[in-house]
């Protein structure tokens, strides 16, 4: 049977020969997005996993124009690249950023906010693996409640991270951005469609894609897709879009799969008590009450 999604994207590889860990969700997101955007994408990647695995002179792994930015400077460098190319008379290109959760929600949030405020014609993709993985699994602003990282140890007194994820999707939407979306590498065709849609919209676009890190999450390298899918199916993550001032759900699971099962598969959550899991489940339910009330389907 023909695979419509596979046929819709380039058969060329633009991010190839890098040294990402087996099962890396982030590198899959980058690879898929570039297959949508094609040869004339100019990628900007901050210091982080993707630049660390892809840009080691003389082994350079992008076959489209690509540049590393400062950690905080993904969006501001995208701005400069886009303005510079336009000033030089180029029209047929896409300036696209790929930054992790720390590079987006923590150190890079100011520059991202500035770029959205200016409505610069760029696509910003946050590949969210829920911690500073490149430096060895430290807590970021997008690390979920309860997760064990190397700076939020799970002990008798504190059970991992004590704060929930920042809501980057709605933070970005609150700027009145032309297009924002959430995605998961577990639902790759949905992600690919959203990248395609973003590439056809003028102004700033933001896509937040859950991209598991088997190393940091404590799952097998071949579990990436399943765990990313399950995150959506159990309701801890959701697929949605923001466009023309409206939120729209891309997928509404009829019944959620078990949160506990999903969490207990992952080394970073294995320490959680029943009480911890209840807190997480309650917060999921509260979030979905809000989503069902305010998002259209």
């Amino acid at each position: 049977m023909a695979n419509k999604t596979a046929e819709s994207i380039s058969s060329e590889e633009f991010f190839y020969g890098h040294k990402a860990c087996a099962g890396c969700g982030g590198s899959l997101a980058v690879r898929a997005a570039l297959k949508v955007l094609g040869q004339n994408a100019v990628s900007v990647l901050p210091a982080g996993c993707m630049s660390a695995v892809g840009f080691n002179f003389p082994q350079l792994c992008f076959s489209n124009n690509s540049i590393i930015s400062t950690f905080a400077g993904t969006a501001s460098m995208l701005t400069g690249v886009e303005a510079g190319l336009r000033a030089k008379g180029y029209r047929d290109f896409t300036a696209v950023g790929f930054a992790g959760d720390g590079g987006t929600a923590d150190i890079g949030i100011q520059a991202l906010s500035g770029a959205i405020d200016r409505n610069d014609d760029i696509i910003y993709i946050c590949y969210d693996n829920e911690a500073y993985m490149n430096t060895g699994i430290q807590k970021s602003g997008l690390t979920p409640y309860g997760a064990k990282t190397t700076t939020t140890p799970a002990g008798k007194n504190i059970h991992g991270n004590i704060r929930p994820k920042k809501n980057m999707f709605e933070i970005v939407a609150a700027h009145g951005i032309p297009y924002a979306a959430t995605a998961s590498v577990g639902y790759l065709p949905d992600f690919i469609e959203k990248v395609r849609k973003a590439s056809q919209i003028k102004g700033t676009k933001y896509i937040h894609v859950i991209a598991p890190c088997p190393t940091g999450w404590g799952v097998a390298p071949d579990a990436t897709i399943d765990i990313a899918r399950e995150a959506v199916d159990c309701g801890l993550w959701y697929l949605a879009e923001y466009e023309n001032g409206e939120f729209r759900l891309s997928r509404r699971p009829k019944e959620f799969t078990s949160v506990e099962e999903h969490l207990k598969k992952q080394g970073r959550f294995r320490h959680l008590t029943d009480e911890d899991i209840k807190i997480i489940t309650d917060s999921r339910d509260k979030k979905w009450e809000y989503i069902d009330r305010t998002f259209s389907l």
């Binding site: 540049i67 969006a75 400069g80």
Partner: protein, 390 residues
């Protein structure tokens, strides 16, 4: 050519208009703000065709300029003081990537305590960031540096970013009569930016990459060689500048009555004029005084300084800077130049103007006379000797 009554900031903005930057990233900070205000007006009235980007911080100002330069565009930004320090990471990034961005820095004190007035602790703290550093003395030189900066930075032998420094308020906000060249002259002097160090859709590049221990030093050695090559390029640019505009500059330093001088003040920036006036006064009294104005701190004029100071009985470095726990940074650099040349002349350091404190003619006269008599090696004007004894 036209003549206008302009502040240093306005003169620099006029020079930038003539240089035709293609991307300007703008963020306000006193006492630089007037530069980006004037440039926004030029873009609005159509006399400057550039992408004018309202960035949300100095870090983004430089990051944006780097992105624009990586696209092959001529990029400009301006900053001062805390802003320069806030973008410091990006300074090293721009020079490491060999992006010939030009930035004007209004030299200003650094907090704490807060202070908006002029000293040179901001830019001198960034001497090692890999940027060419020029220091203007007056508004005309500011305008001329704006034009020369791109010519020097973009030269393929150099390909290094360029920081033009203007003393905060004393130069940025003081009005002088300035000659403004015609666009046709500027275009003759400064060709459009051409480079291979850019995004290329026919032959895609991976830029701003990592380089490990096996190759990293090679990139650094090349950056150093390029900065040294700027010495010749600066001289060539000034020769061409003189033939197009009729104004001649003197390279990395500017000497005044140094040939037979017994006592020489080495300084930089806008205070040099008062030093020269004081030298004239002392000469009339029979004291052989001279002045060396450093125009470029990077590349550093080692040979020029050694040559100017070699026959003096004593010299003083007058600077608006201190490296706590040691001495003024300019003094350290000057001493190194003499030591490398095998020259032994007694040197003194006078630190003044911190946080905008006025340096008077009397202060300067006192420097000349006290180095003739011998004094503490390192002195903060008004606070006395702080270093070794006599």
């Amino acid at each position: 050519m036209s003549r206008k009554f302009l502040s240093g900031n306005e003169a620099f903005a006029e020079g930038i208009r003539l240089a035709r930057p293609e991307v300007i990233s703008a963020y306000p900070i006193t006492p630089q703000t007037i530069v980006v205000e004037r440039l926004s007006e030029m873009v609005e009235d159509g006399s400057l065709k550039a992408e004018y980007v309202h960035v949300e911080s100095e870090h983004s100002a430089m990051s944006c300029a780097i992105g624009a330069s990586s696209a092959g565009a001529r990029a400009f930004t301006a900053t001062s003081s805390q802003g320069l320090l806030y973008m410091a990471e990006c300074l090293y990034y721009a020079s490491g990537g060999r992006f010939p961005i030009v930035m004007m820095n209004a030299d200003r004190s650094t907090a704490l305590p807060w202070n908006i007035y002029g000293d040179q602790r901001d830019s001198l703290s960034q001497l090692d960031s890999g940027w060419i550093q020029a220091y203007a003395e007056n508004a005309q030189e500011a305008l001329d540096l704006a034009l020369m900066s791109y010519r020097i930075a973009e030269d393929k032998r150099v390909s290094t970013p360029y920081m033009a420094n203007l003393d905060g308020f004393i130069l940025t906000h003081t009005y002088e009569t300035v000659d403004i060249p015609e666009q046709e002259q500027a275009d003759r002097f400064l060709p459009p930016y051409e480079t291979d160090n850019r995004i290329d859709f026919d032959s895609p590049k991976n830029m701003a990459f990592s380089a490990g221990p096996d190759t990293n030093f090679i990139f650094k050695a090349k950056a150093h060689a390029a900065m040294l090559a700027a010495k010749d390029v600066i001289k060539e640019a000034e020769e061409d500048f003189a033939s197009v505009f009729g104004r001649r500059y003197t390279g990395l330093t500017e000497d005044y009555l140094t040939e037979d001088a017994d006592y020489i003040i080495v300084t930089l920036g806008s205070i040099a004029g008062l030093c020269r006036e004081t030298a004239d006064k002392l000469r009339a009294e029979g004291i052989k005084a001279g002045v060396v104005r450093i125009r470029y701190m990077r590349p550093f004029p080692n040979e020029e300084i050694a040559s100017s100071l070699k026959n003096a009985k004593a010299y003083a470095v007058l600077e608006k800077d201190i490296s706590f726990g040691n001495e003024g940074t300019v003094f350290t650099n000057v001493n190194s130049a003499l030591h490398k040349a095998g020259i032994s002349v007694k040197g003194y350091n006078f630190i003044g103007g911190l946080g905008g404190k006025n340096i008077s003619a009397g202060d300067i006269e006192n420097i000349f006379t006290s180095i003739a008599d011998g004094t503490d090696t390192v002195n903060i004007i008004g606070a006395g000797g702080i270093g070794n004894g006599k």
